[in-house]
Amino acid sequence: MLLFVAFPMILAGLMPLIGKFSKRSLPDILSAITLFILMVLSGLLAAIMNKGVTIHQPMVMGQKLSISLAFDGLTLLLLFIIYLIGFLVSIFSINYMEEYGSKGNYYGLFLLMIASMSGLILATDLFTLYLFLEAAAIASYGLVGFGLGREELEASFKYLMLSAFASASILLGIIIAFAFTGSIDFLGVGSGFLMLGQPKIALICAALFLAGFGMKAALIPFHGWVPDAYTPSPAVLPALSSGLLIKTAGIYAICRIFFNIFGLFGELPSLLIWIGTISIIGGALLAMGQKETRRMFAYSSISQAGYIVLGIGLGTPLGIIGGLFHLFNHSIFKTLLFLNAGSLERATGTRTFSNLGGLGTKMPITSATSLAGCLSLAGVPPFNGFWSKLLIVLALVEVQRYGLAIIAILVSVLTLWYCLIFQRGAFFGKFNTNWSHVKESPFWMRASMVSLALICLLSGLIFPVIIRGWIEPAARIVSSGVRYLLYCAGY
């Protein structure tokens, strides 16, 4: 279990050194192979041990460490997503990162981010969680500013400053929890708050966490960093961040803390639903008005994160399954779309899509895969996005929230709309002769995009298998609520 954190972490430390000796191929190969092995391993683990909770207490020289790690359905789902996306982004960067140089440093940050995210989801106490969260965030600041241009550094700085708010409020939450319960591990905090019998304190604590993790999850009104950080950075950063960081640092943490530790009480569920709904609408409307590819998809990420939180916030089994399945799907198609955007920018040298046109014939793979991603994003059957949105809408109907169901459906029409605006601007329509020199991206980039597009289609076609294999065990953990603490305690 420690392997998932330690192996990439150690490799991340060695990467800059390795990069000194071998400028190109060795970092590529090492990172891709590592991530591939861990992806297969996490997939296998999910197949083998998808029951209950497995606690692991690392030993150092015969002494038990007071940090422990835990596997359960939710962890396994996210672990698999992390390594799947990590692997595919890693092979994308083989070609994509050529122009940035210093691959050793890049892979160092990349693997640090991956390792920290896996540490984050394996943690069983608030402080370890916070620690890995910060580590992942630091790696991502580095990646935003990786190009070292004026714009990149400004974006990185802005991102850092806004994240400071999130860190502060999370830390404050942890302090309050520790002050009142005397503990920072999940079991201690959860049972402590239950015994304390002071809901107001628990709620202040929850509010701080919601603000902090809500910022990581890119929910409105904590979303300000998203478009600015995603636009000037290398395209792999938004792919990783939207595909993984938002999910692990934001939504996973929200699930874990609000469902498994505090339990849903008071106005928490309706607050989650409201934040989700506002994010859905606001994100989609803002995406409509964008002319830059990545800015559009950044706002779209906000909107889709809203869907996930809305589904999970309902608290019904169907809603949770829908939300978690949308989490899985969104990781895949949004990563794909950001990689498409990267491929498009690399070929044309511009970030705006509105002055492109007719590139479908010049870049058939990028065009076809981005169409698959867009259809998935807009929820067109048989792509995976359709099924998860359908489940969320069904869950809304099930609890008789018809208004929200209608909003969810209408916004998915809006989604289709802005997807079509992008498609028409970039790939369809009249060919713009300025771009006659444009070439299709090199092999590894194409391989990565095609794999993601195929996963979009396949997981739409065999969605019951995915739901049964990964989503349902994860949903069981989320919906078990505070009983999860009993599992943690070893019952």
Partner: protein, 622 residues
């Protein structure tokens, strides 16, 4: 015990169809071997299934109610044998008849698909499964007509819409039946028609079955298809398979799914539909000048006999109707094959241009006259036996109207076939026919086989009755009834038979009179009736498709859609095009002005959001 034979029967032609899609097999000898061989194997499998009696295959599927369930009864396996026999003959005929047709590969693939789907429809033992096969047949129907030529898709669409309407009624009926009985299994005990909804379910399902068989008013695509579709399609679908499917379902509805009382209102309704179909279709057939169109109207008219017979709900009527279904498939397919033979030799089926072919194509001529005699019900051919049984059933019901409709139908059937035979095979040789020659063996052999079978099933009528039809009715048929039906058979000295024979004589006289009156031009011999005062007007209306529900429906929908387009759609569209985008743009612009990139702004929102969250959480706590 699950019997895999049932699945083999469905999947063998499917496999053949899949192979036939490969480009490598699209060469003349290979595709011939593939299609003829597959259909022949299919035929053999069907026969072996028939000898096995009742077998079944069951596997759980979507839910408790919707199972993957097949079964064969004596009725279904017998009709399946018949259907596969016709599929085989059509394949044999088509590989030669369509050898220069651009769409022959498509046709043969579709034929194999149809074989698979029809087998599934005959064997399905669950309504959902059944509907799957039944509806998929609609697609092959469309495709088979549409391959006929550049404009044939219009007729295909017409057939698709009309048959689809009937199928829609069928689905509604099945849904209603499901609600009443609570099961989707097709082997559940029959439902007594005690309530209005049960009667509605019956009528809807019966409409669906009759629509498939091509009864009025769902028939109007058949004459159009006769012109547009490739000929083997006509011989196969309206000639045989559609009838087999429709009448199979109709029999199941009357016998199995519902419990009907002879002489009840529903029985009389069905008999009325049957009689009207006979009369109107035969009247239209009478005045046709094109051989294929004439045949296609008869294909409709003969369905009327089957529905009339089964609609009586008497054993003799039901057996007669089923026997008529078999006989009609034999002679109607045979006649269509003859038409194809004539068309191949001369390039036309217009009776005005034909004549004297009897000398040039003796085999086809002899085949034609045997088959025409069979369809007209001349003693001792099979058409006589089954038609007598149907009329006997109708007569027994005590409604002289139904029996007379059948008799009038018989008169005009004979008149029109006398006219056609006279105009095509007798008389003077014309320009088009002077160089015609007899076709290859696999053009004349299929109709000849069918003519032989028509004779055999006439003289030896006891064999099909006792081997095929009595088991199909099972315990519902008492020994007394069986003896009565058998003794009826070919006997000439019953009141019904005597009147029928009088009808044939009258028909012969009418033809003679018409022929003389029209100046001894055979194809004009029906003009005497055509020109009668009131009838002339009705015919004109019918020829202008005033009675065609499809054409009228299309006209109505076009009118309605114009009205809606002008008065509803344009205003709504203006709303969507003007109001919504401008409002949306304003909202988006407003939101964008807030996102001006100053991080102090964003920070302020974060703090504001946190305060609002704390406030909501704290104040709402009890």
């Amino acid at each position: 015990m699950n019997n895999p034979l049932l699945l083999m029967i469905i999947f063998l032609p499917l496999l053949g169809a899949a192979i036939s899609l490969l480009p490598a097999v699209r060469k003349a000898p290979i595709r011939a071997i593939l299609s003829v061989g597959t259909t022949f194997l299919h035929f053999i499998l069907c026969i072996s299934l028939f000898t096995k009696g009742s077998v079944f295959f069951f596997a759980p599927w979507i839910s408790q109610d919707i199972a993957f369930s097949f079964s064969s009864s004596p009725l279904s396996s017998f009709i399946l044998v018949t259907a596969s026999f016709f599929l085989f003959l059509t394949a044999l005929y088509a590989v030669r008849n369509m050898d220069f047709h651009p769409a022959i590969d498509h046709f043969l693939s579709l034929l194999l698909f149809t074989a698979s789907l029809a087998s599934g429809a005959f064997l399905a033992n669950n309504f959902v499964l059944f509907l799957f096969f039944w509806e998929a047949l609609l697609i092959t129907l469309y495709a088979m007509i549409a391959i006929g030529g550049p404009h044939a898709w219009r007729t295909g669409l017409k057939g698709f819409v009309l048959a689809g309407t009937a199928d829609f009624a069928l689905i509604l009926g099945i849904a209603l039946l499901w609600k009443l009985t609570g099961t989707l299994s097709m082997s559940a005990p029959g439902l007594a028609i005690a309530s209005k909804s049960a009667a509605a379910a019956f009528i809807l399902m019966a409409l669906g079955a009759m629509g498939k068989a091509g009864a009025m008013p769902f028939h109007t695509w058949i004459p159009d298809a006769a012109i547009d579709a490739p000929l083997p399609v006509m011989a196969l679908l309206p000639g045989a398979l559609e009838k087999l499917l429709g009448i199979y379902l109709f029999t199941r509805i009357v016998l199995d799914f519902f419990v009907l009382i002879p002489g009840g209102g529903l029985s009389i309704t069905m008999m009325t539909i049957g009689s009207l179909t006979i009369l109107f279709a035969v009247a239209m057939a009478l005045i046709q000048k094109d051989f294929k169109r004439l045949l296609s109207y008869h294909a409709v008219s003969q369905v009327g006999y089957m529905i009339l017979g089964i609609g009586t709900c008497l054993p003799i009527g039901i057996i007669g109707g089923l026997f008529h279904m078999l006989n009609n498939a034999l002679y109607k397919s045979g006649l269509f094959f003859c038409a194809g033979s004539v068309e191949r030799a001369t390039g036309t089926t217009d009776m005005e241009l034909l004549g004297g072919l009897g000398k040039r194509m003796p085999l086809t001529a002899i085949t034609y006259f045997i088959l025409a005699a069979a369809i007209s019900g001349i003693w001792p051919l099979n058409g006589f036996v089954s038609k007598e049984m149907v009329i006997e059933g109708a007569f027994k019901e005590g409604w002289i109207f139904f029996a007379s409709a059948a008799w009038i139908g018989a008169i005009f059937t004979f008149v029109s076939f006398l006219k056609a035979g006279h105009a095509i095979f007798l008389g003077k040789t014309q320009e088009t026919t002077s160089s015609a020659n007899e076709n290859e063996w696999n053009i004349w052999a299929p109709p000849a086989i069918l003519a032989l079978l028509s004779i055999l099933f006439g003289i030896g009528f006891r064999i099909p009755l006792e081997r095929f039809f009595y088991p199909a009715l099972g315990p519902r048929l008492s020994l007394y009834h069986a003896a009565e039906i058998s003794s009826h058979g070919l006997s000439l000295f019953t009141p019904v038979a005597l009147i029928s024979i009088c009808c044939l004589v009258i028909a012969f006289l009418i033809h003679l009179y018409g022929w003389k009156k029209s100046g001894k031009v055979a194809h004009m011999s029906s003009d005497v009736i055509h020109r009668l005062p009131v009838i002339h007007t009705i015919y004109n209306l019918a020829e202008n498709r005033i009675f065609d529900i499809y054409e009228q429906g299309v006209r109505f929908i076009t009118w309605l859609s114009n009205i809606l387009h002008q008065n509803l759609d344009r205003p709504v569209d203006a709303f969507y095009e003007k109001t919504i985008p401008s409002t949306g743009k304003r909202i988006v612009q407003t939101l964008r002005t807030f996102h001006n990139g100053f991080y102090a702004n964003y920070l302020a929102w974060c703090v504001g959001g946190l305060i609002i969250i704390i406030f909501t959480l704290i104040t709402r706590v009890k």
